[in-house]
């Protein structure tokens, strides 16, 4: 890497109680790119994502060894503010989870947690986030209706907008399109391509094809370990590891 | 890692959460402090098994009241539990949704009626009926049992129903697949499976019956002598306190608190049994 990578994962070992879930993981993630971390079920992709915004802290008995550097600083250092971190590294979950409030209040939730109080600035932030998530035109006339009335695809874009409202630096997406129809999926994938200009995006796709469509780089995980990683085109065309090619071609899943 | 504000709010919540424990402790401590001296003075055996309750003469035997409480409660259980169980089976197994949506709120309503209203209604209807058809003054253990049976219905019904509904569908389907009728399934498979919950429900109902005061005061007749039959008037541990607390003082008052101690102990034992039964799923 000629420039400093956005995120550096160094010798990461992650445990749930005594069970080792991620082994000796090393990866450098450049800024303003889309990285897809994929693998069969229970490979640890979700866990890996959650180590990046320390959401794994919520699980009792979870602990890790190694370092994860964001802009060169270890996010697991003892004096790190976790709430600050989570505003810099946002997450979209696999199930669209609108909070039981209006569309506007959903997007405004994050900014309001901080000290953003003035109505004008909040409204501005909400509009900007919705535009970036390509949802503004569809909802601008009903911002104060319950978010639960949106379709699945719209709800997921709402979740993306909710994260964008915090102006993060990194966006984590854990199987964001699972359960969505192809049209919604395409819309979301398109918005990701536009978003990478301003953000670093790490996605755990729900199938390999999505990784191929959307990602600049990929990393293949198997049972908690990194198998191989690199530019998407290279890994898919010339996988260095037999397991990678087997998985990509569908010999196992 | 946790900010100071977080730590403070967590400690505040912990203090609040201990309020239930503190209340329980306070209640136990204060009741015991007031009541233990007189028990010590009179002697536990004399207090609990003494036949004579005449505070003005210094006689503090609560056995007639214990008999009163036990018989009234037993009667309530005998009358009320079968009806309650049938009703819970009705709600869990037989009632169509529209009907159960009517019956369930009705039962909740039954639970909310003030006990004084129950007592009064019993005074107006049940007591004369007993007096006219069965003899005696009407104000009797039987009257108390009838009223208490009605009052414990909601408790027993709701908990039993929950236990029945919580059973896995497979139990019922398995029995049907073997050719059992609906009733056979209920009797031989579902009820035994829900036994622990049903037992807990019954015990809680009994606990409620033992603890009831106002309704019982109005229909029991409140004679201090040992009752000889269910048509006799009687006093229970609770009505004894309820009637005399208004004018008791000194040792008399302490003796009422001592009665409260006995009640507390009975309830604690019942609760423990109920929780044990419920946990044995």
């Amino acid at each position: 890497m000629t420039q400093q990578a956005k995120i550096v994962i160094r010798k990461l070992n992650f445990y749930y109680q005594k069970r080792l879930v991620i082994r000796e993981f090393n990866l450098e993630i450049p800024a303003n790119e889309i990285l897809a971390v994929f693998g069969p079920a229970n490979s640890g992709t979700t866990t890996l994502l959650r180590t990046l915004n320390r959401l794994c802290d919520l699980i009792p008995g979870a602990h890790l060894e190694g370092e994860i550097l964001l802009d060169g600083e270890n996010i697991y250092a003892p004096d790190v503010s976790v709430t600050e971190l989570r505003r810099r590294v946002g997450m979209v979950f696999d199930v669209p989870t609108p909070l039981p409030m209006s569309i506007f209040d959903n997007i405004a939730y994050g900014p309001r947690l901080g000290s953003m109080k003035t109505k004008a600035s909040v409204a501005e932030v909400v509009e900007r986030a919705l535009r970036m998530a390509v949802l503004w035109d569809e909802v601008k006339d009903r911002l104060h209706t319950p978010a639960t009335r949106l379709s699945g695809g719209q709800q997921q874009r709402l979740c993306i907008a909710r994260v964008l409202a915090l102006e993060p630096e990194v966006i984590l997406l854990d199987r964001p399109c699972s359960g969505l129809d192809p049209v919604s999926t395409a819309k979301i994938e398109e918005s990701l391509r536009q978003l990478k200009e301003h953000f670093t995006i790490i996605i755990a796709p729900h199938n390999v094809q999505q990784a191929g469509r959307v990602a600049d780089r990929v990393a293949f995980m198997l049972m908690g370990s990194m198998v191989e990683h690199g530019l998407t085109a290279e890994v898919f065309a010339n996988p260095k590891d037999k397991r990678t090619s087997d998985y990509i071609t569908g010999r196992f899943g | 890692m946790k900010s100071l504000k977080e730590k403070i709010s967590e400690s505040v919540f912990l203090l609040i959460a201990l309020s239930a424990l503190s209340a329980l402790a306070l209640i136990t401590v204060f009741i015991f402090i007031e009541g233990v001296p007189i028990i010590a003075k009179v002697g536990v055996v004399n207090f609990v098994f003494g036949m004579k309750w005449a505070p003005s003469q210094g006689a503090f035997g609560i056995f007639p009241m214990i008999i009163g409480s036990v018989s009234v409660t037993l009667g309530a259980a005998v009358l009320g539990v079968p009806v309650a169980l049938c009703c819970s089976i009705f709600l869990a197994e037989f009632a169509p949704a529209t009907l159960s949506n009517l019956v369930r709120p009705a039962i909740q309503l039954l639970a909310g009626i003030p006990s004084v209203v129950y007592g009064f209604w019993g005074l107006v209807f049940i007591v004369p009926a007993i007096r006219n058809y069965l003899g005696g003054p009407g104000l009797s253990i039987l009257a108390g049992s009838v009223i208490l049976a009605i009052m414990i219905l909601p408790t027993v019904i709701s908990i039993s129903e929950v236990s029945l509904l919580a059973l896995p569908r497979l139990y019922k389907e398995g029995a049907f697949a073997l050719g059992a009728t609906h009733w056979q399934t209920i009797r031989s498979v579902l009820m035994p499976a829900a036994k622990s919950g049903i037992v807990a429900a019954i015990i809680l109902g009994i606990g409620r019956a033992i603890g009831e005061t106002m309704a019982v005061i109005m229909v029991l007749g409140n004679a201090v002598a040992l009752p000889q039959s269910i048509l006799d008037p009687a006093r229970t541990l609770t009505t004894n306190i309820g009637i005399e607390m208004g004018y008791a003082s000194g040792e008399h008052q302490e003796a009422l608190f001592a009665t409260g101690i006995v009640l507390l102990i009975i309830i604690m034992i019942l609760n423990a049994i109920a929780q044990y039964a419920a946990r044995r799923r």
């Binding site: 919520l58 939730y109 947690l113 | 424990l21 009806v83 209604w121 106002m214 208004g246 507390l264 309830i267």
Partner: protein, 278 residues
């Protein structure tokens, strides 16, 4: 002679349906009787006048006020304690010794007879804390009485809030306190409200504990330290002493109507809660 399974089933069905019918009939018998006899007495005068001549004439205003104030004190005290306990049990701890002790305390409190609460309230609030027979003594005693109900319903309400809501709030940088107040409480509110409404119902209906702590003075209470008579106590005294059957029925009718209201509101909330929880 063996009875066939078919006929046993038929008999069982008849018995069971009859039991359900019996329960309904009993409920209607009690309610209709009281309402029939009591509603004719109800008019604005009855509610707005204070009792005169030990309750033989006049209205029941002071008892209405007494009931309202005692209930208000109980709710104001029990709600934060109960909801706070529920939050502690669900959000701050895992199942363990501490939670088991707290739950055991709450369940034990629930089983204590109301007359024993009366004894406790008398010796602790009236005598020991020197509050005397007062609305405060009565309200605080009732607060302890309804605490278990509020804890139980609040805990259930909080548990049904999807854990994803909490995860989302945390992932957006929320602290635990913010997550509880902004993501969990709004969702759990209807369920918590149910507990409060049921608590109100219990306070209104309670007699034994109140008579020993708030007293039975008929004068209009002027402060929280004044003694007061609630409607339930008033009904008891009127009926037992035979002072005025007419007014007794009227008071009972109001009590029944209040209980009806409480139940209706609680049921509405339950339906809304279930519908939203989806």
């Amino acid at each position: 002679m063996r009875v066939s399974a078919r006929s046993t089933q038929m008999i069982a069905k008849i018995v069971i349906w009859s039991a359900a019918l019996l329960v309904i009939v009993l409920l209607l018998a009690i309610m209709i009787y009281i309402l029939l006899k009591g509603v004719p007495t109800l008019n604005w005068q009855f509610l707005s006048e204070i009792p005169r001549d030990m309750g033989r004439s006049g209205g029941i205003l002071s008892t209405v006020v007494g009931t309202l104030l005692v209930t208000a004190v109980a709710i104001v005290v029990a709600t934060p304690l109960g909801v706070g306990t529920a939050f502690y049990l669900t959000e701050y701890t895992r199942e363990g010794r501490v939670t088991r002790i707290i739950r055991f305390s709450a369940e034990s409190l629930a089983g204590i007879p109301s007359i024993v609460y009366g004894l406790f309230g008398f010796i602790f609030f009236v005598i020991y804390l020197k509050l005397g027979w007062s609305i405060l003594s009565g309200g605080l005693t009732l607060a302890v009485m309804i605490l278990p109900t509020i804890i139980r319903t609040s805990e259930e309400a909080i548990r049904t809030v999807p854990s994803l809501y909490r995860e989302v709030s945390f992932s957006l940088g929320g602290t635990k306190w913010q997550t509880i107040t902004r993501a969990v409480i709004p969702s759990a509110l209807p369920g918590i409200a149910i507990g409060i409404i049921l608590g109100i119902g219990r306070c209104v209906a309670e007699t034994a504990a109140v008579i020993l702590t708030a007293g039975s003075a008929l004068r209009m209470p002027i402060s929280l330290f004044s003694p007061a008579r609630t409607m339930a106590v008033h009904f008891y005294i009127l009926a037992r002493e035979g002072i005025s059957m007419e007014r007794a029925y009227g008071t009972a009718a109001i009590l029944i109507i209040l209980i009806l209201l409480v139940n209706v509101v609680a049921n509405m909330l339950v339906n809304r809660f279930v519908a939203r929880g989806r």
